[in-house]
Structure formats: structure tokens, C-alpha cells
């Protein structure tokens, strides 16, 4: 569904990504893991259109979407949940959600909203309150909910575990994994917390200093102690 070919991104003199190629197939979670500064966020931002690559291509259903604007990419069906709290505190919970997917039909949006409230009940309870009243975990749910409102075929999750309690992280990730299986959505998960990521993912890709060092079944990577020591810090 989503294919990356030879992507290279640099910020001035710093080479953030070198010749990265990967596939994000539908119906499962693909995890990209690595230490801090490995280039994971850069990868996500390039895929979402926030950063322009110097080299390489991104193909979505065989269509070249490299260098397109973020809003166009979102409308095509690729939704990014960026790193950090990406909710807008000045808006209410429901407004934050309704921000996603405005180009879709009224019915589609209605259905999506119901689904999001079903997935994340606490959002439904607080729908008229300001987003700044939510806790960290709740805000992450809100961010994901907003992405889901775009009706995406590809969901890009950038470090959802940051600042969250492990239990909540696991909950969210398992939810997402289930969604992927149920709806055929392709999920690309980028995480510093490799263990949790590899538990829900089908495939694992290890990134180090902007390059792919290893890719394969998540299970194998999780069990590869040398790899873990070298690149994942555990």
C-alpha cells in the first residue's frame, strides 16, 4: 500500500535519512524502532509531507506522492499522528475531532465520530470540554481519534508512548493493532520503546543514524539480543 524507495533526507549538513526503503502493508502494524536521533521522526514527517526529501520516492498505491503538501496527502488517505501532544487546547474535544476529515461526506464523518467515541469512551464523556482538560493519555487518544476521523488507509503513529504510562501505551497500541486487522488499515508505528512496539507489530525495522540496519518479523528482532543491545538499548 505504502512503499518507500531510497528515501534520503538532510537538514543542512546533517543527513537524517540515507537511502531508506520499506513497505507498509495493509491490515497490520509495521514498527520502526531505533535509538533517539535515529531518524524515525524524520521518516514520519517526510511520509506525511511536512519535510521534503532530497532523494527517493514515496509511493501510495503505486502513485508517486513524494513532495506533496501535507493537506493533500491527508486527503488522499494517509494520516499522521505527530510526536508530542498534537491536540489544540483552545478547541473542545469534539472540535478537535471534527477537525479531521472535513472533506468527507456528512455521513462518513458521522460514522467515524461514532466509532471514535466507541473506541475511546472518555472522549465521548468530555466531548464539550476544552481539550486542555484532558490528561496526557486522553490527549493521545484524542490525537489518534482525529487522525481516524480522516478515514485513513494508512495511519502513521509517531512515538505515541512518549510521556505515557506503560499500561496506557499498551492499551492504545493493542487497540490500534486490532483496528488494523479489522479494517485493513496499514499502520506504521515509530517507537523508542521497542519492546512494546515489537509486541503489537508484525514486522520490525531497525533504524540507526538514518539507515536501516535490520528488517524482518517483529518476533525475530525482539529475540535478537545482540541487535537489541547494539541498537535498541536493552
Amino acid at each position: 500500500m505504502l512503499r518507500v524507495e531510497g528515501l534520503s533526507v538532510s537538514y543542512g549538513a546533517v543527513q537524517a535519512l540515507s537511502d531508506v526503503s520499506l513497505d507498509v502493508p495493509p491490515g497490520r502494524v509495521t514498527a520502526v524502532i531505533g535509538a533517539n536521533g535515529a531518524g524515525k521522526s524524520t521518516l514520519m514527517r517526510s511520509l506525511a509531507g511536512l519535510v521534503k526529501p532530497q532523494d527517493g520516492r514515496v509511493l501510495f498505491d503505486d502513485e508517486d506522492i513524494t513532495g506533496r503538501k501535507p493537506e493533500d496527502i491527508a486527503r488522499m488517505g494517509i494520516a499522521l499522528v505527530p510526536e508530542g501532544r498534537s491536540t489544540i487546547p483552545d478547541l473542545t474535544v469534539e472540535e478537535n475531532l471534527k477537525l479531521g476529515g472535513m472533506w468527507r461526506s456528512h455521513t462518513q464523518r458521522g460514522t467515524s465520530l461514532t466509532r471514535v467515541y466507541a473506541l475511546f469512551p472518555v472522549l465521548g464523556e468530555r466531548r464539550s470540554l476544552g481539550a486542555d482538560t484532558l490528561s496526557g493519555g486522553e490527549r493521545q487518544q484524542l490525537a489518534i481519534g482525529r487522525a481516524l476521523m480522516c478515514g485513513p488507509q494508512v495511519l502513521l503513529l509517531d512515538e505515541p508512548s512518549l510521556g505515557l504510562a506503560p499500561l496506557i501505551v499498551t492499551q492504545i497500541l493493542e487497540l490500534v493493532s486490532q483496528m488494523a486487522k479489522d479494517s485493513g488499515m496499514a499502520v506504521l508505528l515509530v517507537e523508542q520503546n521497542a519492546a512494546t512496539a515489537l509486541r503489537v507489530a508484525k514486522t520490525g525495522i531497525v533504524l540507526n543514524l538514518g539507515q536501516i540496519v535490520k528488517s524482518g518479523p517483529a518476533h525475530d528482532i525482539a529475540n535478537d539480543e545482540e541487535l537489541r543491545h547494539a541498537y535498541l538499548g536493552y
Binding site: 506525511a48 491527508a74 498534537s86 489544540i88 478547541l91 477537525l99 476529515g101 472535513m102
Partner: protein
């Protein structure tokens, strides 16, 4: 006491117009984090256009509509002139650009319409109502001004809080990146914001023109008042703009009445200085305005 009531009433319509202009400034600030000092030049030009239309057709209503339309257009044009500096994160450059536009607009007005003070006749009576055998400093025209303020504010509130477009505009102002990721065409929303601000400013200009005379520089003082009101209310706050716009109008009217009308700019300056000294981010705002 009667004096106080008089000055109070006299300040209401001025305050309403200042409120409208402050509203326009806040709209632009919220969408692009730029204070569009050229806003008043835009309003001045659209007022001149309105005057020309009115002289040609005799219809104030048509003049108002044309002014609104041209306000939209001019707002968009100025957006494109200024926005590149904003994207470059060159705040000084953006501010300088708005002043450049202001200078050019004033000069353009001077070239096309000349520098003398022109009279802009009001559409309805501008003499005070006669109630209880007394002429009050509140005329049918003042009532029209206040009504228009209320109508515009209502429409804008509904658009911003109840419609998708309004939501998109607000989100684009608060967090353009998240808005983009949600599929919102942020640049279009910014353009829309400037266009609406231009429209509101144009209305303010047409409304204020009959209250004094119209010339390329007659709005200069007005700019200071509107900016003062917007800043006191907090540049982010539409409510603040309206509230303090009216408040500023009242204060000016009271000061002019009890002392001398020449004191008005000094008082506005004083208000501005006091506000910036003690609460630069404004009364209703979330964000910080101070430097390090």
C-alpha cells in the same frame, strides 16, 4: 450627570467603529500572527471608493456593498504582499511590509482623490434624537452603527463557532501544522481570514467616514485607537477587541468632553503605554507578549 450621559452616548458609536476595526486587526493576527497596520489604509481606500460610488449613484447601500467587496479584494492582495515575509519568519520584515503598504495606499488615495478633506454624507439623519424635549447626542445614524456592529459580530461568531469553515480557520490560526495534517487547506483559510478582516475594516471605514471628514490621513489616529483597543483586549481575543473597542471609544468621548478634544491621542497613547507596561498580552489573552 447629564454631561456624563451625553459623553457616554457620544462615545458609543465611535466605540462601535473602533471595535470593528480592532476586530479586523485581531482577525488577521489570529490567522497569521501579523498586526496588519495597513488595515486602516485599506479601510480608507475602500471608503473613498464608497464615496465615489455614492456620489455616482446616490445610494449609500450600494456604496457599502461595493466597499465590502473591495475590502475583500484589497485584503487578499495585501495578504499576498505580506505573507512571504511571514513564511520566512521575518517578523520585522512583515511589520515593515505592512507599513509599506500603508504608505503606498495613503499616497494612492492622495493621487486619485486628492488630499483635501471630503465630506461623506450619512444615509440617515446624523442629528441627535429628540426625546423629552431635548436633543441627545445619539442619532439615528449612531443607532445604525451600533446595529451593524452587533449584526457583524453575531454573524462572525456563528461562522467561527458553528461552521466547519470557522473551525478550520480557528485551527489554522492556533496550530497550522496540525490543521494541515487534518487535511485543512491552511493557506486558503489564511487568505479567507484576511479577506474577512478586509471586509470588516471596510465596513468600519464606511461607517466612520460620515462622522468626520475623509482624507488620506484622516484615519491615522483611528489606527492608534484601534490598535490600542485590540492590544488591551489581547490580540488573540475577538471578545476583547469588541469590548475594549467600545471602551476606548467611551474613554475618548469622556476625555474629549470633560477636558479638550485635543487630548484624545495623548490619552490613547497613555492607555497603550500603561497596558503594555503592565499587561502586554492583554486582558483576555492566553499567550505571552513579552520578550525574554
Amino acid at each position: 450627570m447629564t454631561n456624563f450621559i451625553d459623553y457616554f452616548l457620544g462615545g458609543v458609536s465611535t466605540g462601535a467603529i473602533i471595535a470593528l476595526m480592532a476586530l479586523a486587526l485581531v482577525l488577521v493576527w489570529r490567522s497569521t500572527r501579523v498586526v496588519n497596520f495597513a488595515q486602516l489604509g485599506q479601510a480608507m481606500i475602500t471608503s473613498f471608493i464608497a464615496l465615489t460610488v455614492r456620489d455616482a449613484t446616490g445610494s449609500w447601500l450600494l456604496a457599502l456593498l461595493v466597499a465590502m467587496a473591495s475590502g475583500l479584494v484589497v485584503g487578499v492582495i495585501v495578504y499576498f504582499l505580506v505573507i512571504r515575509a511571514v513564511k520566512r519568519l521575518d517578523t520585522s520584515g512583515a511589520i515593515i511590509a505592512t507599513f509599506g503598504v500603508l504608505i503606498a495606499l495613503q499616497a494612492l488615495a492622495g493621487m486619485v482623490w486628492g488630499g483635501d478633506q471630503k465630506a461623506f454624507p450619512p444615509p440617515i439623519s446624523n442629528s441627535g434624537y429628540e426625546v423629552f424635549g431635548r436633543t441627545w447626542p445619539f442619532s439615528p445614524y449612531d443607532l445604525l452603527v451600533v446595529v451593524m456592529l452587533i449584526v457583524l459580530v453575531l454573524i462572525m461568531t456563528i461562522v467561527f463557532t458553528r461552521t466547519s469553515v470557522g473551525l478550520a480557520m480557528r485551527a489554522s490560526a492556533f496550530n497550522p501544522e496540525v490543521a494541515r495534517l487534518s487535511g485543512v487547506r491552511v493557506s486558503r483559510m489564511l487568505i479567507l481570514g484576511w479577506a474577512i478582516a478586509g471586509l470588516v475594516g471596510a465596513v468600519a471605514g464606511v461607517l466612520v467616514a460620515p462622522l468626520s471628514t475623509l482624507s488620506p490621513t484622516s484615519f491615522d489616529l483611528f489606527l492608534v485607537f484601534a490598535f490600542t483597543a485590540a492590544v488591551i483586549g489581547g490580540l488573540d481575543s475577538l471578545v476583547g477587541a469588541v469590548a475594549f473597542g467600545i471602551g476606548t471609544g467611551l474613554v475618548i468621548s469622556l476625555v474629549s468632553g470633560y477636558t479638550d478634544s485635543g487630548n484624545a491621542p495623548v490619552v490613547a497613547l497613555l492607555l497603550l503605554v500603561l497596558n503594555l507596561l503592565f499587561k502586554p498580552e492583554g486582558v483576555f489573552s492566553h499567550h505571552k507578549a513579552r520578550a525574554v
